[in-house]
Amino acid sequence: MNPQEQWIAFSTILVKEIRRFTRIWLQTLLPPAITIVLYFVIFGTLIGPRIGKMSGFSYIEFVVPGLIMMSVITNSYSNVVSSFFGTKFQRSVEELLVSPVPNYIILLGYVIGGVCRGLMVGLIVTLLSLFFTDLQVSHIPVTVAIVFLTAVLFALAGFINAVFANSFDDISIIPTFVLTPLTYLGGVFYSINMLPEFWQGVSKANPILYMVNTFRYGLLGITDINVAWAFSMVIGFCVALFIFSLYLLDRGNKLRN
C-alpha cells in the first residue's frame, strides 16, 4: 500500500472506532462521567473539607488531577480491549487480516481509537470538575504530553490483553485485579509522602503513580516524583508495548491459524 492508501486505511479504522464508542455512549461515555461526579461529591465536597489541606491544596483540588487521569487510563484501556476482542469474537478481524493493511496501521488505528475515547472521557470529567473547583494549569505542555502518553500506553496494554483473551472473562481480569488496585494505590487520593518510608518505596514501583503525579504537576505544580524520570519511563513502556503488540500481530497469535 502506498502512503495515501495507508492513511485511508488508518482513518477508516479510526473513524470506525470513534463511531463505535459514540454510538454506544450510554455504555462508554456516560458511566465514567457519573462515577467521577460521585467521587467529586463524596471525596471532594462531603469528606474533603474534613480532611483539610493536602500538599498545600484543598482536597478537591488535590484529587481532581488523579480522578481525571484514572478515567483516561480505564477508558483508553477498556475501549481497545473490548473493541478488538469483539472483532476477534465475531471473526470480523478477518476483514482486516485479508486486506493489505500493514499490521502497524491496524495497531495504530485501534490504539488511537482508544486514545480518543480516553481523552474524550478525560475532557468530560475535566469539564464536570469545574462545577466543584477552579482548575488551574501550571505547565500546559507537561499536562498535554503526559495525558496523551498515558492514554497511548494503556490503549496498547488493552490491545495486548485483547490478543491473548479467549473469553469475555479474560478481558475483565486485568482491569479488575491489576489496573484498579494500581490506580487506587497510585496516588490518586493521597500523597505518598503521607506513607511510612517502606510503603513509599513500594509505591514507587507502581508505574501509575508516576503518571498521576506528573499530571498533577502539570495542573497544580506539585509532585512526589521526578517528572523527567516519569516521562522517560512512560515513553519506554510505550515503545516496548508497541513493539510487543506488533510482534503479536506479525506472528498472528490467536488471530491466524
Partner: protein
C-alpha cells in the same frame, strides 16, 4: 500468461499435529472459473486460508498473479477478494457500513468506497437493506453481503468458500448468474462447494482434494468423460406393467410410469430409444438419476481412500 494462482508443494501442519496439506501443487489460470472440491476435512478451507493469509503455511510457495506471498503479501492481497464459509462481519454494523469500511481497508477513498458499496449492494439486491444491522438479515442475504464486501475493491481473483451453503434454490441460481457475469467480465473465480451440480454448471476446471492431496485436477469436461456409466430415469406416457425390453441395457421399474436404465460409456442412447420405440414405449421425459460430477466425485474419493496416496498430474485443462 502468469497464472492467477500458483501453489507449489504446499504443506500445513496445525499445532495439534494434524496434517491438513501434504504438499499440493495447483495452478489456476487467469479468467478461469475453478472448482476446488473435496469431502469435509480434505483441506479446501486450509488451502483458501493460506491464500488469503488467515492460515500460516508450514512450507511451500504461493503466488498470486506472479506475486510471491512471502515476498509481498500486501501487494498479493490487493488482487484477492474472499468470501469465507462462516459469517465474519460485525453483527451490529449496518450493511452499507460493512461494505464501505472494507473498501477503506483496501485504500479506496471514501467517495469511491461508497460508490462501489452502492453498486454491489444493488447488484446483489441488498440496497434496500443498506441501513439495517447485519444481524437482521436472512442467511441468504448474509451470504450475498459477504460477496458484495469481497467485491468492493474489484479484485482480479475472487475466492468463494461454500458461497451457497444454506441458500434456497432461487437465490442460489441468481447467485450463479451473478458469478457468471463477474467471471465473464474477467474476474478469476475459485469456488469450493458441496453442491456438485453447482461446480458442474459453473466451473470450467476442477480439482478434487482429499486428505491433503490433490487427487484430480483437470477440466470439468474431461472429468465427466471419465464417467463410465450413467443412470437415467425415463418417464413414460402409458402405464407399465413391467420393465420394457431393452436389448443390452440394464434397468429396473420404479413405478408404473417410470423406470431407470444404466447406459455404459460405449452404448448409444439412440439405440436405447430405438429399442423402446420398437416395443411401443413412448418416453415423455428423461433425467440423470444423480448429478454426473457427484458420481465421479464419490468414486474418486472412495478409490483414493482405498488406494495408496498418489498425486495425479494435471491433464486436459482448458
Amino acid at each position: 500468461m502468469t497464472p492467477a494462482l500458483s501453489i507449489r508443494n504446499l504443506h500445513k501442519v496445525y499445532d495439534s499435529g494434524f496434517v491438513a496439506l501434504k504438499g499440493i501443487d495447483l495452478d489456476v489460470q487467469q479468467g478461469d472459473f475453478f472448482a476446488l472440491l473435496g469431502p469435509n476435512g480434505a483441506g479446501k478451507s486450509t488451502t483458501i486460508g493460506v491464500i488469503c493469509s488467515l492460515v500460516k503455511k508450514t512450507s511451500g510457495d504461493v503466488s498470486i498473479f506472479g506475486t510471491d506471498i512471502d515476498k509481498d503479501f500486501s501487494l498479493a492481497k490487493k488482487d484477492i477478494g474472499v468470501v469465507p464459509q462462516e459469517f465474519n462481519f460485525n453483527q451490529f454494523e449496518k450493511v452499507f457500513d460493512i461494505v464501505r469500511t472494507q473498501g477503506g481497508y483496501f485504500g479506496l477513498s471514501s467517495k469511491l468506497a461508497e460508490q462501489r458499496a452502492e453498486k454491489y449492494l444493488k447488484k446483489l439486491r441488498l440496497w434496500d437493506k443498506r441501513n439495517q444491522p447485519s444481524r437482521t438479515l436472512s442467511g441468504g442475504m448474509k451470504r450475498r453481503l459477504m460477496i458484495a464486501r469481497a467485491l468492493v475493491h474489484e479484485p482480479k481473483l475472487l475466492i468463494l468458500d461454500e458461497p451457497t451453503a444454506g441458500v434456497d434454490i432461487e437465490i442460489r441460481r441468481s447467485m450463479w448468474q451473478f458469478l457468471k457475469e463477474i467471471n465473464a467480465s474477467g474476474t478469476t473465480i475459485i469456488l469450493t462447494t458441496h453442491y456438485l451440480e453447482e461446480a458442474e454448471s459453473l466451473c470450467r476446471n476442477v480439482a478434487i482434494i482429499d486428505r491433503g492431496l490433490i487427487v484430480q485436477n483437470t477440466s470439468t469436461k474431461s472429468l465427466l468423460r471419465q464417467l463410465n456409466k450413467e443412470v437415467f430415469i425415463l418417464d413414460t406416457q402409458e402405464a407399465l406393467a413391467e420393465l420394457p425390453h431393452m436389448e443390452g441395457y440394464q434397468g429396473q421399474l420404479i413405478d408404473n410410469h417410470s423406470f431407470e436404465v444404466e447406459v455404459e460409456k460405449h452404448q448409444s442412447i439412440n439405440a436405447l430409444f430405438a429399442s423402446l420405440s420398437l416395443h411401443g414405449v413412448h418416453v415423455v421425459s428423461m433425467r440423470n438419476k444423480t448429478n454426473r460430477l457427484e458420481e465421479l466425485f464419490v468414486s474418486l474419493v472412495e478409490s483414493h481412500s482405498a488406494a495408496p496416496v498418489v498425486q495425479i498430474s494435471q491433464e486436459g485443462k482448458q
